[in-house]
Amino acid sequence: MSTKRHEAVGLTDQQVLDMYYYMLLARKLDERQWLLNRAGKVPFVISCQGQEAAQVGAAFAFEIGRDYFCPYYRDLGIVLVAGQSARDTMLTAFAKAEDPNSGGRQMPGHFGGKKFNILTGSSPVTTQVPHAVGIALAGRMTGKNPVVYTSFGEGSSNQGDFHEGANFAGVHKLPVIFFCENNKYAISVPLSKQLACESVADRAIGYGFKGVSIDGNDPIEVYRVVKEAVERGRNGEGPTLIEAVMYRLVPHSSDDDDRVYRSREEVEEAKKKDPIIQFANYLKSVGLMDDASEQEVLQKVQAEVDEATDYAENAPYPTPESTLDHVYGS
């Protein structure tokens, strides 16, 4: 039996099993949405596949209920750990009134929910980065001092808002975790056409804080590094920029055809490092899971996904006239 790496970083057996559950739930919810899309039942999917380890590993490092999340559209793993349910995902996919993210107003992947401490997100990339900084600033003013998670793709790290937000956080030493999910592509544009630096983490020094690049396929390593960063943030030691390196296993979205811009071999190669498979292997290698318990959790997840799909499919749409609501408050 291999050594329990997770213990060294302070994760209990139960926690890593929970991590696996969340990763799998995210994956299966995602896969189901693709099926529904191909069946013409939901108009759009944007995926977390290949990024679940980074997301779940990162999410576990935060204090749920106290800390804040400003996630990006792939962060299904984050929002599940933050408290959203399979139903919530499916209500959004089907654009039903009960969708907690937007009441059916936004595309899937546009997360939000005050009760989950998840800030409402939009489509223009990277706008959430200054928001995270603002939440941290407010947190300092009110003495609540949450640590704030914000994430973005490596392509999106080229937006001005990344720079301006990171710089602001650096100057004010705010507890913000800038989490870059580097999945090698921005839609069809490969890394080499997006940036010329070795690692997105190299940008941190320009803001006067720490930058770290890690293997985004390893949830334990992600947890360790994010946890450290969260601790530093809580101790007033300022922000951290973390680049988690991974691979997007599916097309950019249901509107994309990735065969145009990357070879099947490349994708197959990446699938060998599928974080879910790797993590299952780890759990087995340390004796926390066997084929039977693996099936068990899979079945549990599938049941959840089924139930959520049924529920959401049958839930009512918002009324047409509700289009006019929530423009201004009272």
Binding site: G112, H131, I135
Partner: protein, 327 residues
């Protein structure tokens, strides 16, 4: 009741709100120890400290974006854009984020942010320190745009903006800052956002304006009264969403409408005002709806003869009003 300048009224409103509510804070370039390049925040850092009067890095998208994040979790930031011209880098944050947070979350989140910006010309500010930018934002539901013309309105409306639960762009005409004085109660009053104000009652022509040019209209109305022409003057105060009822009422009253603004004409606020009149008051009109506006050129030049050519002046206003009355 004290007589004070427009800018003093702005400062007073901020000070009162910051005293009243610890969630109000100010951020922007040079707003701290410098008190703002126009001195709108003079004395605030001394009273409220660096934590609540924040000299930010020079980055407007972050100023807006950080304020939005803070507002979302319950603060009431006042973000200052040093000049309205420099709001452009923050457009994405304002239009895509602040304006849409409530709607996109079906009311779960909201964004009570006030963005103050000095606008307008006639101060040798050249192309990039003279612009009127309100028309860029007047098709963005979710936002409100306020542009007071008097110290009294400035105080009451700025306090309202700060307390408003939605994002408000608050434009202050630079020429009004020290030129326009008026009585301002030191009581805690708020004025309603969304309501225009009849600044002068009249029966022959209706002038609709805001900001600096509103004063020119009032001066001209005074002069025209001596000629026996009675002008009704409506101050829009809120530029978006417009107070349609007030516009319709004011237009119908005289049947002759002149809209005046310093901003250039095509696509300006005046177009929407004229459209509202055309849609609602056609059979009350005795003359075509006129607009007196800045010329359709990119912005105000620096050289004095050109700046003067660009600016709306009291003379131009007087002439346009007289002409309409005689129509």
């Amino acid at each position: 009741m004290a007589v004070m300048t427009f800018i003093e009224a702005v400062t007073l409103a901020m000070r009162e709100e910051m005293r009243r509510d610890p969630s109000v804070f100010l951020l922007g370039e040079d707003v701290g120890i410098r008190g703002g390049v126009f001195r709108a925040s003079m004395g605030l850092i001394e009273e409220f400290g660096e934590e609540r009067v924040i000299d930010t890095p020079l980055a407007e998208s972050a100023i807006a974006g950080v304020a939005i994040g803070a507002a979302a979790v319950g603060m009431r930031p006042i973000a200052e854009m040093q000049f309205a011209d420099f709001i452009m880098p923050a457009v994405n944050q304002i239009v895509s984020e602040a304006a849409k947070m409530r709607y996109r979350s079906a009311g779960d989140w909201n964004c009570p942010i006030t963005i103050r910006a000095p606008f307008g010309g006639g101060v040798h500010g050249a192309l990039y320190h003279s612009q009127s930018v309100e028309a860029m934002f007047n098709s963005t539901p979710g936002l409100k745009i306020v542009a007071p013309s008097t110290p009294y309105d400035a105080k009451g409306l700025l306090k309202a903006a700060i307390r408003d639960n939605d994002p408000v762009l608050f434009f202050e005409h630079k020429r009004c800052y020290r030129l326009i004085k008026g009585e301002v109660p030191d009581t805690d009053y708020v004025l309603p956002i969304g309501k225009a104000d009849v600044k002068r009652e009249g029966t022959d022509i209706t002038v609709i304006s805001y900001g600096l040019t509103l004063h020119f209209a009032l001066q001209a109305a005074e002069k025209l009264a001596a000629e026996g022409i009675s002008a009704h003057v409506l101050d829009l105060r809120t530029l978006y969403p417009l107070d349609k009822d007030a516009i319709i009422q004011a237009a119908s009253k005289t049947g002759k409408v002149l809209v005046i603004h310093e901003d250039n004409k095509e696509g300006g606020i005046g177009g929407e005002v004229a459209a509202i009149v055309a849609e609602n008051c056609l059979f009350d009109l005795d003359a075509p709806v006129r607009r007196l506006c800045g010329p359709d050129v990119p912005a105000m030049p620096y050289s004095p003869p050109m700046e003067k050519f660009f600016m709306i002046t009291p003379e131009k206003v007087l002439e346009a009003m007289r002409e309409l009355a005689l129509f």
